[in-house]
């Protein structure tokens, strides 16, 4: 079916002795906003790397945007997928500025031997504007705060003009204001650019309230999936995180308010 942009069938991925995904199956349709939630080590990052062809499949079939993935062949798929990785350490003296980092998003699409032209700069500047970073566009990338780095990462993904957006813990290690700003930004981008979005988080308080669907992950398997209001019960979350229901409840009361 055309509408199913991601079809993962029984994917198994392991790193050395650890098995990170133990037979995961997932289908995502065009335009969906899917939240993937689970504790640290659940395999969420690994699942995203499977979707953009960076993961090494031991078994299973993966089809994304019509590409059947085998290891080492995902380069053309990745040009169409915006990936915002988990927080990275950046050398504070790295000689590269914000605008150049966002331009990297164009490099894959441009292909070898061609240089960015005026349209590329327009696309890049528009993406920087959209994430509210225009005033810092010429700042060295190593001189940004965590929230600013996340915005740059999102701008770089948008500069690819992707069909799909993968976000790995984009709100981790941010203060609550920056968290809700990023959540709003992501939702706005998803809607205005007609994207299909996978949003990964471990943090109960950062559940994007407006997800079409949530996927609960734990210990390398998908534990449950469905509409957020059905699945995100205090009961389910308490089992997911091995925490008493009362703790879950009090945590969720303190959740970041997102008005969209």
């Amino acid at each position: 079916m055309d509408n199913e942009l991601i079809v993962i069938d029984n994917a198994v991925v392991s790193y050395r002795e650890d098995i990170a995904l133990r037979g995961v199956s997932l289908k995502v349709s065009k335009g969906e906003f899917v939240g993937i939630i689970g504790p640290n080590g659940a395999g969420k990052t690994t699942l995203l790397t499977v979707v953009n062809g960076m993961g090494k499949l031991l078994a299973g079939k993966v089809r994304v945007l019509g590409h059947y993935l085998r290891s080492g062949n995902g380069h053309s798929l990745r040009k169409k997928v915006g990936y915002v990785p988990q927080v990275q350490n950046i050398d504070p003296r790295m000689p590269i500025c914000v605008r150049e980092v966002v331009m990297i998003g164009r490099y894959g699409i441009l292909g070898i031997l061609s240089r960015p032209g005026r349209d590329d700069y327009e696309i890049v500047d528009e993406a920087i504007e959209l994430v509210g970073m225009s005033h810092l566009a010429r700042r060295p990338i190593g001189h940004l705060s965590g929230g600013e780095l996340q915005r740059v990462s999102i701008a770089r993904a948008l500069a690819q003009q992707p069909e799909m957006l993968l976000l790995d813990e984009p709100t981790a290690s941010l203060d609550w204001k920056a968290q809700s700003d990023i959540l709003e930004l992501v939702k706005m981008v998803h809607d205005t650019r007609f994207l299909t979005t996978l949003f990964v988080t471990h943090d109960l308080s950062c559940l994007p309230v407006t997800c079409d669907r949530v996927v609960l992950m734990k210990e390398g398997i998908i534990w449950g999936e469905g509409p957020p209001e059905e699945l995100l019960t205090d009961d389910n979350l308490s089992r997911l995180y091995d925490m008493p229901v009362s703790v879950v409840r009090s945590r969720r009361e303190k959740a970041v308010p997102v008005h969209l």
Partner: protein, 282 residues
């Protein structure tokens, strides 16, 4: 001082070698510094030295040996760096010491006079021949041309290999390409600078440039300029004070680094960064 020596062929050869070697080594140095892999460079230069001695011992062209063994070491180390091992330094350290051990083993096994081996150890730019220069010229040209042609892919790979991969760039190809060029550059410069010293000429000019700019293109240009300057100033000292040229070149490049570090605007980063933070406070 008597400058009539510049009329001599051997001096002109040396000046040209220093120019070409300085550019090639410093350009490679930018990769080494920005990709945080000085250990890989050090290891490959000792591998080249060991390979050259293997050639001398067994009687084939030492430069073929140098190139072969440095690529072999890159093939072993590359995957460690590529996989993002927590501390590839340990494995690289083991290979490094193995290479040094092999180098001295081959030197010991070599019959007769060891002057050829010592020349590869210390280097002597003043005896460079036309074929040395042609090799250096080809390598310098290829290195600069590839950086020019693939600047955007190289910039992305240097910035972050996973990011480069995620936007659809085959980052592993560029990583191995960079290691390959490193091997070629070390090999071509071995006879001029020497196996023990070559890595300093790779590292120091780029490390000096790294202190001075937040722009990658500027860093490439500054590094190349410092590389050439180190070669020329070192050459003068070597000639006028009758010192080993590899050593004077390397000491010059270290002095350039020290000066750059002292005047680095990046040392003021802290003061500069604290400003916006204060503004945010209510």
């Amino acid at each position: 001082m008597d400058f009539s020596i510049f009329g001599y062929q051997f001096m002109q050869n040396a000046i040209l070698s220093a120019f070409l070697g300085g550019i090639a080594c410093a350009t490679i140095g930018v990769f080494v510094v920005l990709m945080h892999m000085p250990f890989i460079g050090v290891c490959m230069s000792h591998a080249a030295f060991a390979g050259a001695l293997l050639g001398l011992w067994l009687g084939f062209n030492p430069l073929v040996g140098a190139f072969g063994v440095s690529l072999l070491s890159a093939a072993i180390i590359g995957p460690l760096a590529d996989r993002g091992e927590l501390s590839p330094e340990t494995s690289i350290g083991v290979i490094f010491s193995l290479m040094l051990g092999l180098a001295f083993l081959f030197m010991g096994l070599m019959p007769g006079t060891k002057s050829g081996a010592l020349e590869l150890l210390w280097g002597s730019i003043l005896t460079n021949t036309r074929s040395d220069i042609i090799l250096l010229g080809i390598v310098a040209f290829v290195v600069v041309a590839l950086v020019f042609l693939f600047y955007k892919e190289i910039q992305a790979t240097i910035f972050n290999r996973d990011t480069a991969l995620a936007v659809g760039i085959p980052a592993a190809v560029f990583l191995y390409g960079i290691l390959f060029l490193t091997g070629a550059t070390i090999t071509a410069s071995l006879r001029s600078i020497g196996g023990l010293l070559i890595f300093s000429l790779i590292l120091n000019p780029a490390a000096a440039a790294y202190q001075l700019t937040y722009n990658m293109k500027t860093m490439f240009l500054l590094a190349a300029a410092f590389g050439v300057l180190s070669g020329w100033v070192g050459l003068l000292f070597s000639y006028f004070f009758n010192l080993p040229s590899g050593a004077t070149i390397v000491v010059t490049s270290s002095v350039i680094f020290l000066i750059a570090a002292i005047f680095s605007p990046k040392r003021k980063v802290k003061g500069w960064q604290s400003k916006p933070l204060q503004e945010e406070q209510p």
